[in-house]
Symmetry: C2
Subunit: 258 residues, 2 copies
């Protein structure tokens, strides 16, 4: 690549989160950065898009004057769509980065994740895309080890390509850099949320329910992302958007009678 690559960056924690600041700082070493990120936290927005209402974008100087940045009133997926069609007006995007998410997007968390949905949206448009997450929900999480890992991964993606995928889900354990054992290429572990709702009454004595829960892994395979993370490795899962369960197709002939 002779000219500097154009790198689009978004996230779901919002444009003021420290995770996206780390990502912008590191990615700036490699290319021309365009940021379009939500103006408010949009965690767990999945692949939600805004169709019932208009969305708005506003120029932001939060990353300094050398970085083209916009805050957007829409979801993470809206950010990618408006970046491509309005901000960059169809100009080539060489790489899309999303995150660094505050909290894990390993296992089936990918399905709920706004961070990964932004990356997936770019990949569906043929743009190589990487979502990054640090396993630390704290707003003041320490992204210093993540910065080194993200730097290596961006360098590899730009110099050597993304193999036979154009979407990666990268999760980073909450550890100092020298305690991270390495990087493993993995499959998505099987797991789910064991949920509960906290029940309460609002000031007008009307009942409400507030979602809470903990994640349960139903999978301990050494080739899974959860195994990697629990054993102090960074996990990288190649991701696709074809949700067909091919092996089940021949098992469904009993449905084909009208």
């Amino acid at each position: 690549m002779n000219k500097k690559p154009t790198i689009l960056i978004s996230n779901d924690d919002g444009i003021t989160a420290s995770g996206i600041r780390t990502l912008v700082d590191v990615a700036s070493e490699f290319g021309n950065i365009v940021v379009v990120a939500p103006n408010s936290p949009q965690s767990a927005q999945g692949h939600s898009i805004t169709i019932e209402d208009p969305i708005r974008i506003h120029r932001s100087d939060i990353f300094g004057k050398d970085i083209i940045a916009y805050e957007c009133t829409g979801t993470p997926v809206d950010c990618i769509k408006i970046a491509k069609n309005v901000v960059l007006k169809g100009k080539d995007i060489d790489l899309c980065l999303s995150g660094i998410n505050h909290g894990s997007n390993a296992s089936s968390n990918i399905i709920y994740s706004g961070t990964m949905s932004a990356a997936m949206e770019a990949s569906m448009e043929g743009i190589p895309a990487i979502g990054f997450s640090l396993m630390d929900f704290a707003a003041d999480a320490d992204f210093s080890a993540s910065a080194k890992i993200v730097r290596n991964i961006i360098r590899t993606a730009l110099s050597k390509g993304m193999g036979k995928t154009n979407l990666l889900n990268v999760n980073i354990p909450k550890l100092p850099f020298n305690e991270i054992k390495g990087i493993r290429i993995c499959r998505q572990a099987e797991g789910h949320w064991i949920e509960d709702f906290v029940e309460g009454k609002d000031p007008l004595q009307r009942p409400y329910y507030w979602l809470t829960g903990k994640y349960e892994y139903r999978d301990s395979g050494e080739d899974s992302d959860i195994w990697a993370l629990e054993n102090n490795y960074v996990s990288i899962v190649p991701v696709k958007h074809d949700l067909t369960l091919y092996k089940a197709i021949p098992s469904l002939n009993h449905f084909s009678e009208l």
Copy 2:
């Protein structure tokens, strides 16, 4: 199955949509119905969940007094979670149905779909789940042919099981019943939205952008859902929530150096 099955129903067009009314009417022939559906349209909400705010449910008699129904302030996925944990308090659910959606969820539309995300959420909890969509966006769409097809599919699912999957994406062409040629078991077609944003100014002269677009298929395979629908068949795609692109795993070893 000796006792009457418990069938959970949701959708993304909201509890007042005619598509969910058709689904409730047909499913009532087979089991005890519990409806938890959004109190407002939630199209294109993807797998979004509500974590920053509480949600509320209110009992509804919209389907008559024999049907246990609640309207919910949350997303389609929230509806499934609160149905399971609060309304049914962990009681067994034999089948989850979502829809009938007003509009196609074929091809990659599944990824944006609140209807399919509700069904997927149930399937991730081990509940057999089917999402139904009619290829007609109109609020007053004619669901009479859909009713016959849905009846057959529910009967088959309850009597013969769901083969090697527990999640089906069913799309129905906008045709009278006698013009529908049959049912085909398919894979998800490759396709994407060609998008544009309508730009406008609000009454205060502030610019806004409103998403629009048309769907483009990049796939004409006769084994795809789009081919089936364009040739007047109902399409059934078995769906999974493991998004790993397995074939790409060996191609990513160049990322494994820290």
